[in-house]
């Protein structure tokens, strides 16, 4: 018996206004691995990522057809519970957007909205997640300070901790290091690599070297279609498709 993957995309089409952004996407995201979605700007990488947790719901003129199965459940089914689906995924956006509250409350926010009230449990969760993202030693003495006082790299790790605190199975990263300096970027990349033991990670990146450093699998998207999907080394060093070859070599971007 084959295990169902956390995320399975079947015949997904996304239209935004008159534009056909994603065309017949079919993919099974490998569990407990880092998968990078690469491709030129405007090819639909972020659109694909955001369709995994229905972040398009709140945007006008977006039409989505096909299925995205998360743990075997179609998230676009009419009776799907969107908050429950999103809880399964932590999103790390391009720039950190800490909530307008303290460091502690940022991490505790998710658990609180999902009904955890006990201070002991929250304290433990906050400590756990801040340790998991390597922030604990830097912030343990000022948990009540505003999250905006942190450096941008620390803020991004805080946002990761905030996402992990709701107990997701999947981490979605949308060019999560693009606003960061090289040192913070390296810290985040290392975090992704260590976190894949527990989580399935999907990253969008336009930096090929980053994809090579952190990912086990690569999805190459071009003009709204998946051109190639396979293990990192294979796609980057020995691509099967002509388009992938040209992209990897830098002929098209």
């Amino acid at each position: 018996m084959t295990k169902t993957p956390h995320i399975s995309v079947q015949h997904l089409d996304v239209h935004i206004g008159a534009q056909h952004i994603l065309k017949d996407i079919n993919i099974n995201i490998p569990d407990k691995k880092v998968t990078s979605i690469i491709g030129p700007s405007g090819c639909g990488k972020t659109t694909l990522l955001k369709s995994f947790n229905r972040l398009w719901d709140n945007t006008a003129d977006v039409k989505i057809t096909g299925k995205v199965l998360v743990d075997g459940e179609d998230i676009y089914a009419p009776d799907a519970e969107v908050t429950h689906i999103r809880k399964k995924m932590g999103l790390l956006s391009q720039r950190p957007y800490p909530l307008p509250m303290s460091i502690y409350d940022n991490v505790a926010y998710g658990p609180r909205i999902h009904g955890i009230r006990k201070k002991q449990v929250l304290d433990q969760l906050v400590e756990e997640q801040l340790k998991a993202t390597g922030l604990w030693n830097e912030v343990k003495d000022r948990l009540n300070a505003s999250a905006t006082r942190l450096s941008i790299g620390q803020q991004q790790r805080l946002c990761l901790a905030r996402g992990l605190a709701v107990g997701p199975e999947i981490i979605l990263g949308d060019e999560s290091t693009s606003a960061l300096d090289p040192v913070s970027t390296a810290i985040i990349e290392d975090l992704f690599i260590s976190l894949k033991e527990k989580y399935s990670i999907v990253l969008v990146t336009h930096i090929l070297r980053q994809a090579r450093r952190v990912s086990d699998y690569i999805i190459f998207v071009y003009m709204g279609k998946i051109i190639e999907f396979g293990p990192t080394e294979e796609v980057l060093l020995n691509p099967k498709e002509e388009l992938t070859k040209e992209y990897v070599k830098g002929y098209i971007s």
Binding site: L99, I113, T148
Partner: protein, 281 residues
């Protein structure tokens, strides 16, 4: 070459002149009420209600109008805020798929924004007649609330639109509902809410036309919503219309008091905005 230099000089002089004209007239206005009002400003003015013969130059003060104005402007701002916050949240966070509808609502509030306050006064008066309310504090509050709602809605709307979409995505992707997201957005815009309150209060406390037939006027401090209430702008209006020099001077003193109140509120709001923007990105 000389033409360009002349052009530079010409527009520079023009801008300096315009700046002086605008700031100069500001100081002229403040200066006028200051010099004309200050000699008549005394402790009695702000601690006493009009005594017998106040309007022919005898003893008393305008405490009735000061308190009345605070009641009307404060009540209207609170009531307006209770109505406006849900509207601003709704058109921004719940109608995002229906841009045409939300923009139509925005336009409606823009139109309301531009309606002269006498129209709100008249409309408020009609409401009062319908419900059998006489000229009273309540009537004044109702009319002024109508006046400030468009200000509050449009200000809050603009502020909410400055909140980055990613912040909403952040809470939504944690599994938050729209309402939970709205609460975070409200927290984010707290300084903006203070700005809106300030704008609304400032407009409310200075408006004459909307309270003209709705709040009435009384020499006593209102003790219930159903009693007529004096307001500062009307007090200024009545006193300046008097032929008695003493009373006219007190009119300017009243204007000075109103200006000082608005000034204090502005400074206070500024301090509060700084304090509350602690967590802002």
């Amino acid at each position: 070459m000389r033409k360009r230099k002349f052009e530079e000089l010409f527009f520079r002089v023009l801008m300096v002149f315009a700046t002086i004209l605008v700031s100069g007239s500001f100081f002229l206005i403040v200066g006028t009420i200051f010099f004309k009002g200050l000699p008549y400003l005394n402790w009695d003015m702000i601690t006493k209600t009009p005594g017998g013969g106040f309007y022919i130059g005898k003893e008393g003060g305008i405490l009735n109008a000061i308190i009345g104005s605070f009641y009307v402007a404060g009540g209207a701002t609170i009531l307006g805020l209770i109505i406006s916050i849900p509207v601003a949240i709704f058109i921004n966070l719940y109608m995002d798929g229906k841009r045409f509808l939300s923009n139509t609502i925005r336009m409606a509030f823009d139109v309301l924004f531009g309606i002269p306050s006498i129209v709100y006064g008249a409309f408020g008066f009609l409401i009062m007649v319908y419900f059998g309310i006489r000229a009273s504090l309540l009537g004044g509050i109702i009319a002024v609330t109508l006046l400030v709602i468009p200000i509050l809605v449009r200000t809050l709307d603009e502020v909410i639109r400055t909140v980055p979409f990613e912040l909403r995505d952040a809470t939504l992707s944690l599994g938050a509902t729209r309402w939970e997201t709205a609460k975070v957005v409200l927290r984010q815009i707290r300084p903006g809410i203070f700005t809106a309150i300030l704008l609304s209060f400032g407009r409310a406390i200075g408006d004459v036309a909307s309270v003209l037939f709705t709040a009435g006027f009384s020499d006593n401090i209102p003790t219930s919503l159903h009693e007529p209430a004096a307001t500062l702008p009307l007090a200024i209006f009545f006193q300046l219309g008097s032929p008695v020099e003493e009373v006219q001077g007190r009119g300017y003193a009243s204007a000075l008091i109103l200006t000082i109140i608005v000034l204090i509120i502005t400074v206070l709001a500024d301090i509060l905005i700084k304090k509350f923007s602690k967590h802002k990105i």
